[in-house]
Structure formats: structure tokens, C-alpha cells
């Protein structure tokens, strides 16, 4: 499209302003993690590495980090499994209720977190009587995994279905014509096709679970703390603010390569990011 120089400059300016908007708070947090004072006022009073040193010695954040990683990994695996199955069903078949399925998948993420949180807390705390036996899901690691997997499914689904839409059905037919069994077609054609989409979806689902706080607050139960919960418990303690800044900066730095990879892997698939 032929745009005037002025128009190009305006658009470029708007983009850089937008990026400045996105990055200013992050830079402020990163800089304040080196602040000698514990306050959040600007400019920092002086620079020190003390908080970074201290963060490695305290147990709380590292335990919470491990808990978060565990929940996110298991929830991501479940979400990938369910999302992939749904995507294949949607792509290959027409069936009754097909258009409601995408609605069903997107609902857990589109509904406000507090609704999902209240609904799941309510049902996890109930004792369900099935006549033969009764059970109660209860709270803990497993309830967090169930809750997180539920709203992560859509991310996996989006990535896989976007890839399937772009790839021709002819490939599968060709494979069948060449005499391949369904399982061979899957192993040799379909899986390599969606592999990178799975990874991209997996990374996004992981990020989603890793940062979740609202549903987590209501479904975690006692004695199990994720990193966002630890941050929430400490971020408003004036003396711990710099420690939280350190953890936040650390997680951001670690996430840059992951974000980069997720984007490369899903190139052109549409985003499929979600929350």
C-alpha cells in the first residue's frame, strides 16, 4: 500500500509510543529491584545487589516457584492432550453440536476468572454421592491442576486447529493412498505437521497457568502455595517489595527466550494466546 511519508512516520511513532507504554512499568520494576530503599518512589535512592543476593537465600519464593512449575507442567500436558483431540475432531468431522464445541472450549477463558473460581471452588468442596460410592475432589495440587487444565485447553486447541486449517487435507489422503495405516499417517504425517503448533500451544498454556492468581486463590486449599500466591502475600509488605521486584525481573528475563520461541513456532498461525 502506498502511504505518504508522513503517514508512515505517524504509524511508526504510534508503535514506539505503544511499546514505551508497555515497557515503562517493567523497566521501573527492574530498576527498583536494585534500589537501596524499600519504597517504590522514583527515582531510586541508590543501587545495590543486596536484594538479588537475598532472594536466593530465602526459601519462600523458591518453594513457590517449584510448586508453580509442577502445576503448570501437568496442567499443560493435560490441556495439550484434550485440546489436540478436540482440534482433530473439529477439523475432520462434521457432527451435531460442532459449532457449540468451540463455544464450550472458549468459555472457561472468556468468563471472568472469578466466575470460574467460584464455580470450581463450590463443586470441588462438595461431597458427590454416586450411590455406589461418594467422593469429594477437595483441594490441593490436584485441584489446581484440574482448574488450570480447564482454562488452558482452549490455547492448545487454537494452536493445533490453526495449523490443521492451513495444512491441506490432501496430505492425509495422499498418505492413505500410498497405503499407510491411520496410525502410520499419524506418526509420519499428522504429528510432524502439528508438532510445532503443540509446542507453541504448550508454551502459552504453561505461561497462562504459571501466572494465574484468581482461580488459584479459590482452588488451592491450605498448605500449597504457587509463585503468584507468594507474590500476592508479599508484594504489599513494604519490607519485601524489593524481593518481589527481584522475582518479577527474574521471571521476565527467563521468559524472553520462551516468548521468542512461542512466537517463532506459531508463526502465521494466528495467535492462540489466551489467558
Amino acid at each position: 500500500m502506498n502511504l505518504s511519508r508522513a503517514a508512515r512516520w505517524v504509524l511508526r511513532g504510534a508503535t514506539w509510543l505503544g511499546l514505551a507504554f508497555l515497557y515503562t512499568p517493567l523497566i521501573v520494576v527492574a530498576v527498583l529491584s536494585f534500589n537501596t530503599a524499600t519504597s517504590l518512589s522514583w527515582p531510586p535512592k541508590g543501587l545495590t545487589l543486596d536484594w538479588w543476593r537475598k532472594a536466593w537465600k530465602v526459601d519462600g519464593p523458591s518453594d513457590a516457584l517449584v510448586n508453580s512449575l509442577q502445576v503448570a507442567v501437568v496442567a499443560t500436558i493435560i490441556a495439550l492432550l484434550l485440546g489436540t483431540l478436540a482440534a482433530f475432531a473439529m477439523q475432520r468431522f462434521t457432527f451435531f453440536g460442532r459449532s457449540s464445541l468451540s463455544f464450550l472450549l472458549v468459555l472457561p477463558i472468556a468468563l471472568p476468572g472469578i466466575v470460574t473460581a467460584v464455580a470450581l471452588q463450590n463443586s470441588f468442596s462438595r461431597t458427590i454421592d454416586l450411590g455406589l460410592f461418594e467422593f469429594r475432589i477437595g483441594f490441593g495440587f490436584h485441584s489446581l491442576v484440574i482448574a488450570h487444565a480447564t482454562f488452558c485447553v482452549v490455547v492448545a486447541y487454537n494452536n493445533v486447529i490453526a495449523r490443521l486449517r492451513r495444512s491441506s487435507a490432501n496430505l492425509l489422503e495422499a498418505s492413505a493412498d500410498l497405503g499407510a495405516h491411520a496410525s502410520q499417517t499419524f506418526r509420519l504425517v499428522t504429528f510432524p505437521l502439528v508438532r510445532s503448533a503443540l509446542l507453541a500451544g504448550g508454551i502459552l498454556a504453561f505461561a497462562l497457568s504459571f501466572d494465574e492468581i484468581i482461580v488459584t486463590t479459590f482452588t488451592a486449599g491450605s498448605g500449597f502455595e504457587t509463585l503468584p500466591q507468594w507474590i500476592f502475600a508479599n508484594i504489599s509488605r513494604p519490607n519485601n517489595v524489593p524481593l518481589v521486584n527481584v522475582m518479577a525481573t527474574f521471571v521476565m528475563l527467563v521468559s524472553i527466550p520462551l516468548a521468542w520461541m512461542a512466537q517463532r513456532l506459531s508463526d502465521g498461525d494466528g495467535i492462540g494466546t489466551g489467558r
Binding site: 508512515r8 504509524l11 517504590l40 478436540a86 464445541l101 472468556a110 466466575v115 484440574i146 486447541y157 495405516h181
Partner: protein, 304 residues
């Protein structure tokens, strides 16, 4: 694909399964569909159903536990009390404003990244937009509180936050703060689908529009925007619904002064008055489902 494995060499039972699935397509469908549908319906839809049901019970005023006695009082309170309806109206206003602001900021950004920036810079720019999503939600919320802090004559240190000391001005902890912080948090969710939508737009289409004599603005209005509707709708699902239900950031950046729908639900739930909280959740449930149906019509679900 460089590797090729010769066909065959499978064990007999596996071949049997294969044949079974090929002959009975329905069986294949069932195998694919059962796990995700079972999970979502049994865990999620059933939970939502239970929640709606919970709104129908009376609260025991002495123990603050739901009784088994049925009542419509909670629904009446949630839907006819003007004070509460007011909160809903305010929350929808905030969510809509945030969505529009995100759109206004995201459109030029996405357009620049996708159509004007040098190809090699594109990926870097889009990752730059994506990266803030990985910084913790809470950290970003509190970062805004810190940035918005006004200077005070009486504090331990009298300097204000970033805005007050760099620009000499801060909107303080009010409605502007909520809208600003929420716009900030959800902006990437708007940029990315629009970028993806623009990326799918064939350049030849824009050239054709130009060749037919349309000025850039006309091309933008008559060609680009209509084709971007599904992407914008997809992005707006995130910005709108995430803003509508948030309660932590509004509380943090207003020092608890402004309450949105999420805060109302949270405080009622912790009262504890579970039946009334459940009745309040019907509001976002209805609003979001209506919104999703509208967005689905616009093709949002293909562009998520």
C-alpha cells in the same frame, strides 16, 4: 520431509484397530471427542450449573451457610437493587472503555508491524509486544500502583512514583487508574490477533484497491477494517471479559475505593454469602455469553 519409512511392519492387533476406526468413522469421532467434552462438561459446565443452582437457596443468617430452603430473594437482590445494578453498569463501562482504548492503540501498532516494518524487524517487534504478558499480572498491577503514587508532604520519603516525579502529574488512585492499568494489562491480547489478521491479508488486495484509485484512508476503511472485523472481535473477547471480571487490580490501583463487579462477587463470597455471590455471578455469565454469541457471528472464533 526427508525421512521416509516403508509402509507396513505393524503388528496384527494394531492393524485391526486401524481397520476398525476406518470402517467406523463415528467410533473415531467418539474417541476424539469424548475426553475433551467429558472434561469440559463434567468439570466445567456442571460446576457452572451447580453455581447457578446455589443462587436459589436461602442463607442461614446465624451460621452464614446455605440452607436447603429455596428462595428467589438472592436473584431479586442481584438484579433489581439499583445499587448493585449500578456496579454492573460501571463495570461494563470500564470493560468497554478498556476495549476501545486497546483497539485504538493496537490498530496502528499492528498495522505498522505487519505492513511497514522491515521484514527482519517484524518478529522482534511482535515478540516485544508479547513479552510483557510473561511478566506477572500482580507485579504489573503493583507496578502501576507504584507509578501512580502521588508525592506526599508527610511520608517517609516525600517523592511520588514514576509519573509524579518524571511528568510532575499523576491521575492518582481513581477511575482513570483502573482504566489505565487494565488497558495496559490486556493490550497485547488486542495487538496479536489484529497483527495475525493483517498478516493473512494478501498485499495484492491492497494494491488492487490503490490501483482502483482508493486513497490509503479509503483502502483502510473499505478494505482493511471490514476484513479485520473477526480479528478485532477475537481480541475484544479477551480485553472485554478480562476487564469485566478483574477484581485484584481495581482494588490495588484505587486503594480499595472503586469497586467493580469482581469486587462485589469476591466480597459477597467472603462475607460469606455464597448464594448471593452465586446470584451476582449470573451477571457476568449473561453478559459474556451474550458478548460471545455476538462475536461468534462476527467470526471471532476462527481468529482467536
Amino acid at each position: 520431509m526427508s525421512e521416509r519409512t516403508p509402509v507396513g511392519g505393524h503388528s496384527a492387533p494394531l492393524r485391526g484397530v486401524n481397520r476398525l476406526f476406518r470402517r467406523h468413522r463415528r467410533l473415531g469421532l467418539a474417541a476424539l471427542l469424548t475426553p475433551p467434552v467429558f472434561w469440559l462438561v463434567v468439570i466445567y459446565i456442571a460446576s457452572l450449573g451447580l453455581l447457578i443452582g446455589a443462587a436459589m437457596f436461602r442463607l442461614d443468617p446465624r451460621s452464614h451457610k446455605p440452607t436447603t430452603e429455596l428462595t428467589t430473594e438472592n436473584l431479586r437482590t442481584a438484579f433489581t437493587d439499583w445499587d448493585f445494578v449500578n456496579v454492573v453498569v460501571r463495570s461494563v463501562f470500564v470493560a468497554a472503555t478498556v476495549t476501545v482504548l486497546c483497539l485504538v492503540i493496537a490498530l496502528p501498532m499492528a498495522f505498522y508491524i505487519s505492513k511497514i516494518a522491515k521484514p527482519w524487524a517484524r518478529r522482534g517487534l511482535i515478540v516485544a509486544v508479547l513479552m510483557p504478558l510473561w511478566a506477572g499480572y500482580l507485579v504489573k498491577g503493583y507496578a502501576w500502583k507504584a507509578m501512580l503514587r502521588p508525592a506526599s508532604k508527610f511520608g517517609i520519603d516525600k517523592d511520588g512514583g514514576f509519573l509524579a516525579s518524571v511528568f510532575g502529574w499523576t491521575p492518582g488512585f481513581g477511575m482513570v487508574a483502573v482504566i489505565l492499568a487494565l488497558t495496559y494489562l490486556w493490550l497485547p491480547y488486542m495487538v496479536l490477533p489484529i497483527y495475525a489478521g493483517l498478516d493473512r491479508l494478501p498485499p495484492s488486495l491492497l494494491d488492487a484497491s490503490g490501483d482502483l484509485g482508493a486513497r490509503p484512508l479509503r483502502t483502510f476503511r473499505s478494505v482493511i477494517v471490514p476484513m479485520l472485523v473477526p480479528s478485532i472481535a477475537a481480541g475484544s473477547i479477551f480485553t472485554f471479559s478480562l476487564s469485566l471480571g478483574d477484581y485484584i487490580v481495581p482494588k490495588v490501583v484505587t486503594e480499595g475505593k472503586i469497586r467493580l463487579l469482581g469486587n462485589l462477587i469476591e466480597s459477597t463470597l467472603l462475607a460469606p454469602n455464597q448464594p448471593l455471590a452465586a446470584a451476582f455471578t449470573l451477571w457476568p455469565l449473561m453478559i459474556i455469553i451474550t458478548y460471545l454469541i455476538g462475536m461468534k457471528r462476527l467470526g471471532a472464533f476462527e481468529s482467536l
